[in-house]
């Protein structure tokens, strides 16, 4: 019985804190509308998506595959990204390049973004700088899961 009263007290305490934050914030936001106390931040964060924060230089965003000058992918299919990927979300298949100087090229390169944890290990492992995560694309929500499986054409952009 005493235990249950204890819980009840905590719930009331929590509600008071929430209510206090709400009213205080509301008060300062209303003041802001009248251009009073504009420097005080209040509890509201950035007014996303109207206001956006600049993305940090080293932020890891959506992947892209790099291209040579002639437009062919820089990837040499060493599969080190596949090896290092902790969520096993990369799949690469190689094909023999007809050029006698070049060994292989990617015939398939799939990144399943529904599985990707954006650790950036693939970028670090790549010996050819063929994969980067610098597109600054962070809005990756889609209505369909299938759309989040990116293939070679999509990744080359």
């Amino acid at each position: 019985m005493i235990k249950q009263i204890g819980f009840f007290i905590e719930i009331v305490k929590g509600s008071i804190i929430t209510a206090r934050h709400f009213w205080v914030n509301l008060f300062f936001h209303i003041l802001k509308l009248f251009h009073i106390k504009t420097k005080r931040k209040g509890a509201a964060t950035i007014q996303y998506p109207d206001v956006r924060q600049p993305i940090a230089y080293r932020h890891r965003s959506m992947h892209r595959l790099m291209k040579h000058k002639d437009g062919t992918p820089r990837c040499v299919v060493c599969m080190l990204c596949v090896t290092v990927c902790p969520s096993e979300c990369i799949y690469v298949e190689a094909a023999e390049d007809p050029d006698p100087e070049i060994q292989k090229y990617p015939s398939q390169f799939i990144i399943d973004l529904t599985r990707c944890c954006f650790c950036g290990f693939c970028v670090e492992a790549c010996p050819e700088d063929a994969i980067r995560m610098d597109t600054d694309e962070i809005e990756l929500a889609r209505y369909d899961k299938e759309e989040l499986v990116f293939d070679l054409d999509k990744l080359l952009g």
Binding site: V77, C78, V82, T83, E88, Y91, E101, Q103, P127, E128
Partner: protein, 518 residues
């Protein structure tokens, strides 16, 4: 016997062997690239240098014969320094394209660099440009840049196949391995060249760029494609958690076995793994109920009902059993005990596997892995293609091999056409799987354990190299469960928990089973 000291430890070794072999026997590893136990030593790579007391220069351990009282150092400062120097020379003109080299992960040069090298490159000149893709054989591509000129491949064609297709041309920095004018490497053992190449110079078109070696899991097995029964390792890929890989088995390599195949396997066995990957049966099929999921328990119940329906009086004339020489000794024994002796199947036929072209090295004309086991078990089977079939057939139990050809399946189909109830045990889809009343998926040799007797009478045990596919099960397990389901002598079949226990039982009955090697 002579007494030698390796790294100050005394060892008693046989007379006449090399220092390298002595060290190997003592469990001391000496790095080597060109040395291969199957060939005469050549000493081209200079990696196996050791110091011998009283000899001013470092000696090649692969070509120096042991003497009594010899004191060998394999790991002192001078040897380590020399080894590092040799590695630096080898790597000076090596393309360092490990990330795209198929050998990476299996490469000896890579391993030795990590173990004995670890130096920064001092080579500031441009590396020699060479041909990267020279086709030297039906399935072989040679990369001149990666080649370290160990001449293992040359020695293979000279000493093992005696076909002399390869040679070293030009001199000095321009030296290269190439084919003679007669044409590319064209023998039945050419796949071994890619396997013995210590670096990634010779690559196999079958495996080239397919996957990376560290994704593969190796398992030991026996090649079932002819009656030689060569020891092999099967490299398989289990796939990634969200992506399926196109193949299950990626490559087959030879495994050292002095009694059977030495170090080699033929190309038939090396490239003939398609049956493990393709057209496999994964589920129990029951005619007219294709959509219903079937578990083994239920399926075996239906099967035993079907078997019980055939009256014992009809069994001798109206029931037919079709066997194949891919079944292991254990399975054949269970068939003999349970189906032939207990269930009174008198019409036992054997599917004929047509002979192929043999040679005097490894390939035998007989293309079935366990015909000898069938004979030693005393199973008398008629030939399906030439012997007469019974007039009226009520029930057929057919065990078909994975590589059944059209003639073979046609001969089984002739029986099926006459029969009322047709039960098929098969690992791969064939012409019969559509016309059978019930199809039970079975495991292939690579997925099961048991024993086979090869053409020379050597009994070889093997264990699974990969997991059974889908719902498939090895035949011995199906037979034991069938026997229990039909409820004959439950106690007798309860003891068969593994192929080993069955082999023990065989040995109880036939004491010299599998010991009659020629």
């Amino acid at each position: 016997m002579v007494k030698i000291f390796i790294d100050e430890k005394p060892f008693e070794v046989e007379e006449g062997i090399t220092v390298f072999t002595a060290a190997e026997q003592a469990g001391i590893e000496i790095p080597h690239l060109c040395y291969h136990p199957a060939f005469a030593p050549e000493g081209t790579c200079r990696m196996c240098l050791v110091e011998i007391e009283g000899v001013p220069k470092l000696e090649l351990s692969c070509a120096t014969v042991v003497r009594d009282g010899m004191k060998v150092s394999t790991n002192n400062e001078r040897v380590v320094e020399a080894r590092k120097g040799v590695l630096e020379f080898l790597l000076a003109d090596h393309p360092m394209d490990c990330p795209i080299c198929d050998q990476a992960g299996d490469c000896k040069l890579q391993d030795y660099y990590e173990k004995y090298g670890m130096f920064e490159s001092r080579y500031s000149e441009n590396k020699e440009k060479r041909e990267k893709k020279r086709k030297i054989g039906q399935t072989l591509i040679h990369d001149q840049e990666r080649c370290v000129l160990c001449r293992r491949c040359v020695r293979f064609t000279r000493e093992i196949t005696k076909t002399h297709e390869l040679g070293v041309f030009e001199r000095g920095v321009h030296a290269e391995i190439s084919i003679l004018e007669d044409g590319p490497v064209n023998n039945k053992y050419s796949g071994n060249l890619a396997e013995i190449c210590p670096v990634g110079a010779i690559t196999d078109l079958d495996f080239r760029f397919q996957t990376r070696s560290w994704f593969l899991k190796s398992g030991d097995s026996i090649c079932p494609l002819c009656s030689r029964g060569c020891s092999i390792t099967i490299d398989s890929h289990k796939g990634f958690s969200h992506f399926k890989v196109p193949k299950r088995v990626y490559r087959i390599q030879s495994r050292r076995n002095e009694n059977i195949n030495g170090f080699w396997i033929c190309d038939i066995g090396r490239y003939g793994y398609g049956y493990i990957n393709e057209n496999r049966l994964e589920q129990i099929l029951l005619k007219n109920e294709q959509n219903e999921a079937m578990d083994w328990e239920k399926a075996l119940k239906i099967l035993s009902e079907k078997m019980k329906k055939v009256h014992p009086m009809d069994r001798s004339s109206g029931a037919v059993l079709i066997l194949n020489p891919w079944l292991t000794n254990e399975e054949l024994f269970l068939i003999k005990k349970f189906l032939i002796e207990n269930q009174e199947f008198e019409n036992v036929y054997l599917i004929d596997i047509p002979d192929g072209e043999g040679d005097d090295f490894l390939i035998t004309t007989e293309r079935s892995p366990n015909k000898r086991g069938l004979q030693e078990l005393g199973l008398k089977a008629k030939s399906l293609s030439s012997d007469k079939l019974p007039e009226k057939i009520k029930l057929v139990l057919a065990f078909t091999p994975p590589n059944i050809d059209s003639a073979g399946s046609a001969s089984v189909k002739a029986v099926f056409d006459k029969a009322e109830t047709k039960i098929l045990f098969a690992s791969n889809k064939n012409d019969l799987s559509d016309v059978s009343d019930m199809v039970f998926p079975t495991a292939v040799i690579a997925e099961k354990s048991g024993s086979l007797i090869n053409i020379d009478g050597v009994l070889q045990n093997f264990s699974p190299a990969l997991e059974a596919l889908g719902d498939s099960r090895p035949e011995w397990q199906i037979l034991v469960e069938m026997a229990k389901e039909i409820d004959i002598n439950h106690k007798y079949y309860d003891q068969f928990s593994s192929p080993e226990t069955i082999l023990q039982e065989i040995r109880k009955e036939i004491s010299d089973f599998g010991k009659k090697s020629d």
